[in-house]
């Protein structure tokens, strides 16, 4: 079938070296026109079918049940926006929101600085063993959050954790990382930074390697030293990459749950909810309290928050890095 379709198509242009530009509008400007495009529907169908069933339908259904008093036992009662009204008045929700944003800030900013710094070191053309360093930096990213949370949980332990032994040997009081609010956020942020810094350093390195060498040449002819070259050549060229890393980091960071879940061993995020996060709160409501309608409302709020914060991020990064051009 495909053979006849293609030959019909190839017969139309009079000669191969004079490709006829079809007058009608192209759906895909980069496409190979001599191939029968109809097959595109078949090739993309598995994705769309699977996504429809296991992606889109659950999301739509989630929006639907958010307007119900709906639990695992079979209660289904339409209550309008009552779930959202209750949510806005729920202290646990605001606590989770503040914790999430705090952890996100504590992890994103150091991660960004460290990964750009590491990338700048790796970018040095005189570096020996660059493949080795690059590979090592990716190691944290392949490990499971569970294994790492077990290790970090021990390292941050109150009595015998390595971190507290160092703090103690410097003459300070031991910190109970898990019990404190800010300290538990620091512990969680450390895990996130540990996991993602190397990965993002590679992304920044790739972007740095794509910067034309002429830019550095003319900068050094103008007398710019190493530091000035970094500020005036490297950083502005990373604009899109920083935006990309920030948005991906925001989408992931605002959904953080695995680290606090394993660190605390339950869905409540610590004894007083000191490191409860939005997604953890969703799971707590869905799979501990079995309030599915309420949990669905939390999910919708998370989506709205992710969208808003991503947008603000996008605007701010454009502002901060845009004027240098």
């Amino acid at each position: 079938m495909s053979q006849t379709a293609v030959s019909r198509k190839t017969n139309k242009p009079p000669s191969p070296w004079k490709p006829a530009k079809p007058p009608k509008k192209l759906n895909n400007p980069g496409a190979v026109l001599s191939l029968n495009g109809k097959w595109g529907y078949l090739f993309t169908a598995p994705f769309f079918v699977m996504f429809l069933i296991f992606g889109l339908a659950p999301i739509v259904y989630s929006v639907y049940i958010a307007f119900f008093n709906w639990d695992a036992l079979g209660t289904k009662e339409f209550i309008g926006i009552a779930n959202f009204v209750e949510l806005v008045a729920d202290d646990r929700f605001w606590n989770a929101l503040v914790n999430t944003i705090d952890i996100w800030l504590l992890s994103t900013i150091p991660m960004l600085i460290l990964s750009i710094g590491l990338a700048a070191i790796l970018h040095n053309p005189h570096l020996r063993g660059s493949t080795f360093w690059r590979t090592i930096l990716l190691v944290p990213n392949i490990t499971s959050v569970l294994a790492i949370a077990i290790v970090f949980g021990q390292l941050f332990g109150r009595d015998f954790g390595m971190v507290n032994l160092i703090i103690g040997s410097l003459g300070f009081e031991h910190i109970d990382f898990i019990q404190g609010t800010t300290s538990s956020h620091v512990a969680i942020a450390t895990m996130i930074v540990w996991r993602w810094t190397g990965y993002n350093a590679l992304i920044f390195l790739a972007a740095m390697l794509a910067i034309p060498g002429e830019l550095y040449e003319s900068a050094s002819l103008d007398g710019a030293n190493k530091w000035k070259q970094f500020i005036y050549v490297t950083l502005p060229s990373l604009r899109n990459t920083i935006t990309f890393v920030l948005i991906v980091g925001t989408i992931g960071g605002l959904q953080v749950f695995a680290e606090p879940l394993i660190l605390g061993g339950s869905y409540n995020g610590g004894d007083s909810g000191q490191f409860s996060t939005l997604t953890l709160f969703l799971f707590d409501q869905a799979f501990v309290a079995y309030k599915w309608g309420y949990a669905a409302a939390v999910g919708i709020m998370i989506t709205v928050i992710v969208a808003v914060v991503s947008f603000i991020n996008f605007v701010i990064t454009r502002r901060l890095t845009g004027d240098s051009k």
Partner: protein, 291 residues
């Protein structure tokens, strides 16, 4: 002065940034980063081979101890089906990786190289899909798994993960960048259909990138934690992560036992990484430029 010498001895890197010679400071920082990257793995092994008591001393021991095999047998005693769990994880990971590569590659090929109505809208749709929080539909998905009898079945981990928007988008970028249109044009003029063009021209070119996508899918599946925890119930269906998590919930935290389990569930990945680490690095960096 040194920069003059540098330019004379290494003229080939003239076009690169003329920074000073890589100093000891740079190596120190990289050494520190390496230490921090490796240390948690090392520590996992130290605790697992020494036992909790040895670690709860001041100062704690920093060298491997003699109890590693005792701890391993303790792990197997607490989790009689741990080997089964490792096998399950390997099975699910491999199946998901192969399926993702297959479905993502054909869809990515269509989006990159075929001209059909609605193509642009569909690509936009795929990109928007990637932005949605993955937890948004988790409750209905859980209900759906119950309806089709996938609760406490590995199918619940496999079927929803067969193809993802990320994979499709990634393969589209790869095929767009790596497969020249002229090649496909000349092939189709010689009479090759879409299938043959895909099979004999596109596939060999994207083999490397497909392998990297497969690896990432495998790693993500291996490390997935929450969804398996929700849908799996009986120990013979556990994945490695769920099994290791069981060690925690027994009673007071036994660090040696936990770290032993964590070590055993991570060791296969470390072995795998030794062989494929460089390819993963290339995959991350290739994706970055286009992303």
């Amino acid at each position: 002065m040194s920069s003059v010498a540098k330019v004379q001895t290494k003229p080939s890197i003239n076009r690169r940034p003329k920074w000073q010679r890589m100093g000891a400071g740079g190596y120190t920082l990289l050494g520190l980063a390496t230490f921090l990257s490796i240390f948690p793995f090392y520590w996992m092994f130290i605790v697992a081979s020494n036992g909790t008591d040895e670690i709860s001393k001041i100062p704690p021991t920093l060298l491997p101890g003699p109890r590693f095999f005792t701890v391993v047998s303790n792990v197997y005693e607490a989790l009689p089906q741990f080997n089964q769990a490792l096998l399950n994880t390997f099975y699910v990971g491999t199946l998901v990786a192969v399926a993702q590569v297959f479905f993502s590659a054909i869809a990515g090929f269509a989006f990159a190289k075929l001209n059909f109505r609605g193509q642009r809208f569909m690509v936009l749709f795929v990109i928007l899909t990637m932005m949605l929080p993955s937890q948004l539909g988790i409750i209905p998905l859980y209900i759906l798994m119950g309806e089709i009898g996938f609760i406490d079945s590995l199918n619940a981990l496999i079927v929803p993960a067969l193809v993802t928007a990320f994979g499709v988008f990634w393969m589209r970028q790869v095929i767009d960048a790596q497969v020249p249109n002229e090649l496909l044009e000349s092939a189709s003029i010689d009479g090759a259909g879409v299938f043959r063009a895909y099979w004999s021209l596109v596939l060999p070119i994207i083999a490397q990138s497909s392998f990297v996508l497969g690896l990432f899918s495998f790693l993500a599946t291996w490390n997935d934690f929450l969804w398996p925890l929700l849908v799996l119930q009986s120990p013979e269906n556990f994945t490695a992560q769920v099994a290791v998590n069981q060690l925690k919930s027994s009673y007071a935290i036994d660090y040696a036992l936990n770290m032993g389990g964590a070590f055993l569930s991570t060791a296969p990945l470390i072995v795998l990484f030794i062989f494929v680490g460089r390819r993963l690095v290339r995959g991350v960096m290739d994706g970055a430029v286009k992303g």
